[in-house]
């Protein structure tokens, strides 16, 4: 068939990232499966959970491609929350009591980072306060739970105060847009 070409000619090439991503996913699947099999054969600490958790964390942080709404702030917050989950998993596996200390430190660092991100472009970000609100609320809840269930430590108190502070910031600047934002997010 005689076709007159009316579109730019460009060869389809996969990027290095796409190739690397594909090979890493294959490697992770094989590695994870091998670890699970070894773990089932050898009694003791279930180390395959650490491997699987680590692979998942790496995948979510570097390889996962969200197709809809993957803004930097929410990706950053999600990554930190996955890190917290992974740390919690490690504590469960190895039975050490350091998660109660480390988690609030990560938590208040995240809340502060989100707060800086919010204030840096206050004029526009005050219109969508939900990322900061949800991270601060989660921080507050975690701090309260840790104070009730765990011992009294300084990172927990810092997390509590920073979270309350950020909720106040949201209340001061974004109380109007907040109602609208919640209506949007929860519409049916």
């Amino acid at each position: 068939m005689d076709v007159r070409i009316v579109y730019p000619i460009k060869k389809h090439r996969r990027t290095t990232f796409e190739i690397l991503r594909q090979w890493l996913i294959i490697l992770f699947i094989i590695g994870g499966a091998v670890c699970v099999i070894c773990d089932l054969c050898i009694p003791g600490v279930p180390f395959s959970l650490c491997v699987l958790g680590g692979e998942w964390l790496f995948y979510r942080t570097f390889l996962h491609r969200a197709h809809i709404e993957a803004r930097f702030a929410s990706h950053f917050a999600q990554t930190v929350l996955w890190c917290c989950g992974y740390l919690f998993l490690l504590t469960l596996i190895f039975g050490k009591d350091w998660a109660g200390f480390v988690l609030p430190i990560i938590g208040f660092s995240l809340v502060i980072a989100m707060g800086i991100f919010f204030v840096a472009d206050l004029f526009r970000r005050k219109l969508s306060p939900l990322p900061l609100l949800s991270v601060s609320a989660a921080g507050l809840l975690t701090a309260v739970l840790l104070l009730i269930l765990d011992s009294f430590r300084w990172p927990t108190v810092v997390l509590l105060s920073v979270s309350v502070g950020m909720l106040t910031v949201v209340g001061l600047f974004s109380i109007g847009p907040l109602g609208r934002e919640l209506k949007k997010r929860f519409h049916r």
């Binding site: 009316v6 000619i9 460009k10 197709h67 809809i68 709404e69 803004r71 930097f72």
Partner: protein, 488 residues
């Protein structure tokens, strides 16, 4: 950008003090109308203005006339004020963001070919201005707890120089990404839309307005499709809810037979335009006592039968515009798919196929059938409304291929005859309409006609060329001459 600024500085040096003051004032007024944009976008938009002024003055337009054409009034308030508007997705659109995956995104493209090469600087300005008329296009897709929705974004829409085949994925993940893109190539202006934003009819209104604005900036006297017009009430309505309640039915087709060939990694693998004489096509259809849609549909059934092997049913989806049924003016999705199904073994003769297809299509386009299908879609949405998005998304992505894509062999979307005002006609050569590839289906066809020229576009997702060869032979067989153009 630096190049544009240098040229602007050179222009300013040549101007009289009054004109210099006029341009400085214009830049200031633009600046005050871009308050909601990021500093980067604000700079880029001011450079659009300066580039436009340089170009118009270089083409002999008087500075006062250039300033009038590029007045800040064209921007409206879309970039200057916090916007309260947001839009829940319409009934048909709800599925599209849920079904998006690495290789699947429902994108379509409408293109207009002008008689002169495109001037990118003016087209960029036309695009900046056109968004004012369509605020619901200046949005981004957001994830709600139950459904996605469209939320206002404050971004300069970026014009692209076309660099690849049509209907590539639109990046919806990054901050401020809009669900459409506009590009140019030679004399062609193309607008590609993620289907969740609008359908072919809505997209055509956008493209006509953009083209009219571009021509106005080029100095043509065009009063139709003004960007300063207020959006009509009802343009953003979900009109599926306006249809009278009916007993729900539909969505129960069986797996369809598809053409042979492996799906390629690159999507679409090829786009081909069969350019036909619209009058000859019309007469060929009338001579067989059917509509153009039925006639082309019968050719597609025959081409499908020739390019597939094995037994089964060939099922072609035909979108039906619902706007005329309720007098709708919405620019959102308002169409439903009718599936026309014929066993492959019975696709042998046009003469026997045409009456059968005409009957099936008339039945599917009947008001009762449409209302039942719409009721089914509404019921589906209602029944899923309490399920969180995080649960819905993976499930829909998993089953969409089986219930959404496996049930049809290909799609034929006929946008019909494009009508344009008298003032625009001398500048427009033709239109074309490209449907994006959709997962398992290896062919999608779009038909559009303008001023005696009909363009049947075939979008391929496989390297197997048997379908287009069969279609070409069939067209020749019924006495229709065509010119073929497309991608490599």
């Amino acid at each position: 950008m630096r190049y544009k600024q240098k040229n602007y500085a050179r222009l300013i040096r040549k101007l009289s003090p009054e004109d210099r003051g006029l341009f400085a004032e214009l830049c200031e007024r633009w600046q005050s109308n871009l308050g909601m944009l990021s500093p980067h976008d604000r700079r880029a938009m001011l450079n659009d203005l300066k580039g436009g002024l340089v170009l118009l003055c270089a083409n002999g337009v008087a500075p006062s006339e250039a300033a009038r054409r590029l007045s800040e009034h064209n921007l409206g308030r879309i970039y200057s004020r916090p916007r309260q508007d947001w839009y829940p997705l319409d009934t048909a659109a709800k599925i599209y963001p849920l079904a998006v995956s690495g290789r699947r995104m429902a994108v379509f493209r409408l293109s207009v070919y002008l008689k002169k090469p495109i001037i990118p600087e003016l087209l960029q300005l036309a695009l900046d201005f056109t968004l004012r008329r369509f605020p619901h296009f200046a949005t981004g897709v957001r994830c709600g707890f139950y459904w996605h929705y469209l939320d206002a974004v404050y971004r300069r829409p970026r014009l692209r120089n076309e660099s690849t085949v049509p209907c590539q994925r639109i990046n919806m993940a990054s901050s401020g990404a809009m669900p459409f893109r506009v590009s140019f190539f030679g004399e062609r202006i193309s607008a590609e839309f993620f289907h969740l934003l609008t359908d072919g009819s809505g997209g055509m209104v956008f493209l006509k307005t953009l083209t009219a604005e571009y021509l106005r900036l080029c100095g043509e006297r065009i009063t139709e499709f003004p960007v300063w017009e207020t959006p009509l009430p009802g343009e953003t309505d979900n009109d599926f809810l306006r249809l009278p309640p009916a007993s729900p039915s539909g969505f129960s087709e069986k797996t369809a037979l598809r053409i042979d060939g492996r799906i390629t990694r690159r999507q679409p693998s090829r786009v081909l335009h069969f350019e036909l004489d619209a009058d000859a096509l019309h007469f060929a259809a009338k001579a067989r006592g059917c509509s153009v849609t039925v006639f082309v549909l019968s050719l597609l059934f025959m081409a499908n039968a020739e390019s597939s092997s094995g037994e089964g049913r060939i099922q072609i989806q035909v979108p039906i515009n619902l706007r005329p049924t309720v007098g709708s003016v919405t620019l959102r999705n308002f169409s439903l798919y009718a599936t026309i199904s014929v066993p492959r073994s019975e696709c042998t003769e046009l003469s026997s196929l045409i009456p059968r297809l005409a009957g099936e299509l008339a039945g599917a386009m009947g008001r009762d059938s449409l209302e039942q299908n719409a009721a089914m879609a509404n019921k589906l949405v209602r029944s899923l409304r309490f399920i969180p998005l995080a649960v819905k998304r993976p499930v829909v992505r998993l089953i969409y291929g089986q219930i959404g894509e496996a049930v049809f062999s290909n799609t034929l979307s006929n946008l019909g005859r494009v009508s344009l005002p008298e003032s625009m006609r001398p500048h427009i050569e033709k239109f074309d309409f490209v449907l994006g590839p959709s997962g398992l289906s290896k062919v999608a066809c779009g038909l559009i006609s303008y001023e005696g020229r009909a363009v049947l576009t075939v979008t391929k997702a496989t390297d197997n060329a048997s379908f287009e060869e069969a279609l070409g032979e069939l067209l020749e067989g019924v006495g229709l001459e065509y010119r073929l153009s497309g991608s490599v």
